[in-house]
């Protein structure tokens, strides 16, 4: 089975580059020392490698749930949680204890089994998707040849689980929330995938570690050769970012769980640990999609400036992840929620045409650069993308975004 096309080089065990894989190596060595059979060693190694990733991101989830509240508080000139522990550092623990000790309520009209299944199905794809991301030069938990496709294939399971959550609850608000969530996710998955396709076209591979490796090096000696710093990559990156906000159900696209409109969307009928699982799935999904964006457009684990290579590569990755997540928080603290018709119209009339345009731009860019016409490549692709972008924005601003809502009962 060539599913696990391993990129393995035998490195020094104690180098900082290898720190994240140290637990896996130690367990493998220990089992080998004890004389365990080879299949057991490899399975244990895989389990420990998976455990490392899950552990890192569960820690990140706990930290983010605190940092998000702190950042939002600062944006609103408040202090935020500061009671549990030093600067509120124990707040996630307090939240966790509260969630775990809450009563687990299953509505009388709910489908018991599906109601239980949905929160699990929300978390599983997020964790699976996190497994294929290259976090460092030597740290790709599962190095798949078809990593990008795997990411999107697994990510599409989320829609079904949101539907199950909404439908199995047997009540109105979850149903409405699930319908909103599905239509939003389906609409924004299209431009998300299309904007990622440009990267695939240029790098000629679906393997995420290879995509990162191709973004190494620097233009003019200091501009990193990331995909974001090409015309098509700039537009595709911004489109990808907007779509990932919608896919992660973050403000301003958090209509599926808009608390002032439909309680909590598909999570309304969940409490206790199941609700915590939804929360966790959402944050892990946010991590996963940000990590994919970094891999595709921000050079993954590549250092941002030459001469910074002495730091282990995974530090750069997590630094970029922190910045991207902070952008999510900043945007959440700034923009009001959009209306559902504006949301859909934006997806189909702005995002998809622009995403489709990045594909020919990426093709022209690659061909012209291959033939050595670097200037011509800029001269063609920038207007090719910029002019339609301005036209689309102006039209959307003038005509479509301000489409008057018709009220049936008011007035």
């Amino acid at each position: 089975m060539n599913l696990f096309a391993a990129i393995s080089t035998e490195p020094a065990l104690w180098s900082p580059e290898w720190l994240p894989r140290l637990p896996q190596r130690l367990v493998e060595m220990l089992l080998g020392f004890l004389g365990a059979p080879e299949w057991l060693v490899s399975i244990a190694g895989f389990l420990v490698a998976a455990g490392t990733v899950v552990g890192v991101f569960l820690g990140g989830f706990a930290l983010l749930s605190l940092i998000e509240r702190k950042t939002l508080a600062r944006i609103q000139n408040r202090i935020g949680p500061n009671r549990a522990g030093w600067f509120g550092i124990l707040q996630p623990v307090a939240d966790g204890i509260k969630m775990l000790t809450k009563e687990d309520i299953v509505p009388a009209k709910a489908e018991k089994f599906l109601h239980l299944l949905a929160p699990i199905l929300i978390v599983v794809p997020a964790i699976l998707a996190l497994g294929v991301i290259p976090y460092g030069r030597e740290w790709t938990p599962v190095s798949l040849e078809l990593g990008l496709l795997f990411f999107f294939a697994v990510g599409s399971l989320t829609e079904l689980s949101v539907f199950i959550a909404g439908w199995a609850s047997g009540s109105k608000f979850p149903m409405l929330g699930a319908m909103r969530a599905i239509s939003q996710m389906v609409s924004y998955e299209l431009p998300l995938i299309i904007s990622a396709l440009g990267v695939v076209m240029v790098s000629g591979t679906l393997s995420l570690p290879l995509i990162v490796e191709q973004q190494g090096g620097f233009h003019l000696g200091f501009i990193p050769a990331w995909n974001l710093f090409t015309p098509w990559g700039f537009f595709a990156g911004i489109l990808f970012f907007i779509c990932s906000i919608a896919e992660a159900n973050r403000c301003p696209f958090d209509l599926p769980e808009g608390e002032s409109e439909i309680v909590a969307g598909h999570m309304t009928e969940y409490s206790g640990f199941k609700y915590a699982l939804f929360f966790m799935g959402e944050y892990l999904g946010l991590f996963a999609i940000s990590a994919l964006g970094i891999t595709l457009f921000l050079g993954g684990w590549q250092a941002p400036l030459p001469g910074l290579g002495f730091l282990p590569s995974w530090i750069w990755f997590f630094g970029k992840l922190a910045i991207v997540i902070f952008m999510f928080l900043w945007i959440r603290g700034t923009y009001p929620r959009v209306r559902i018709d504006q949301l859909m119209r934006f997806a189909w009339l702005c995002m998809i045409p622009m995403a489709l345009l990045t594909l020919p731009a990426a093709g022209i860019w690659t061909i012209l650069n291959r033939d050595g016409h670097g200037f011509l490549a800029w001269a063609i692709t920038v207007p090719l993308l910029l002019i339609p972008c301005v036209i689309v924005t102006v039209i959307f601003n003038r005509r479509l975004a301000s489409a008057n809502r018709t009220y049936r009962f008011a007035e």
């Binding site: 600062r74 944006i75 609103q76 000139n77 900043w330 700034t334 923009y335 301005v390 924005t393 003038r398």
Partner: protein, 214 residues
């Protein structure tokens, strides 16, 4: 879109960045500009309450908590109270004679709506609105029923809570008292004068009688 106003052309999408700038400034300045922070750390520090804040009635006493209670158990507040949360029993001595003070004075916090009518109608300056707001309790029956012991507060407390109102009341009461004292003194003087006059008359009579006798 016809708004009537002439629309100035701005770069589409500019507002997005302006919004980000505002929130970004908020966030950065919140770390070093103390005057930006609008919240107070509640249990340790408290925001000053407005002198107009009125929350729950209390009974005023002068000097002694028992004997000095201004309330005379006249039951006007009990009758006026819209949600009828006040319950008063008049104290009597063994002969059934009114002692003009309450034996029981209860206010139910869970019923009281803080309207302040009781303090408006009280003719004895006895019941006033408090500024206390930490009244929550985990005992929903006993803890929310305030008896005499928790309702009576000293005149000094009132003076501290609402200096204007309290000093006005104090001045009025003092004037009343002085008037009363003056009246009493006048009465006393008159009685004394009367007595003296009587005495003088009696003396005169006696002297007359003696003279007649002599």
């Amino acid at each position: 879109m016809k708004t009537g106003k002439p629309t100035r052309w701005v770069l589409p999408g500019l507002g997005l960045f302006q919004g980000l700038a505002v929130t970004g400034k908020n966030m950065v300045q919140s770390f070093y500009k103390k005057e930006r922070m609008t919240t107070v750390q509640y249990p340790e520090e408290r925001a000053p309450i407005s002198p107009n804040f009125r929350n729950f009635p209390f009974l005023v006493y002068d000097k002694d908590p028992k004997a000095g209670l201004r309330c005379t158990a006249c039951s006007i507040c009990e009758k006026e109270c819209p949600p009828q949360c006040i319950y008063i029993v008049l104290d009597r001595d063994e002969n059934g004679k009114s002692l003009k003070r309450p034996k029981v004075f209860d206010i139910d916090l869970s019923v009281c709506m803080n309207c302040g009518i009781c303090s408006e109608v009280c003719p004895f300056d006895s019941i006033y609105m408090d500024g206390e707001y930490e009244l929550s309790t985990d005992d929903r029956f006993g803890g929310l029923l305030f008896g005499l012991d928790r309702l009576s507060k000293s005149a000094e407390y009132h003076m501290k809570l609402r200096p204007e109102q309290a000093s006005e009341v104090m001045a009025r009461r003092k004037a009343d008292e002085e008037k009363k004292a003056a009246a009493a003194a006048a009465k006393l003087a008159k009685a004394k004068a009367d007595a003296e006059a009587k005495k003088a008359e009696a003396e005169a009579k006696a002297a007359e009688g003696k003279g007649e006798d002599a």
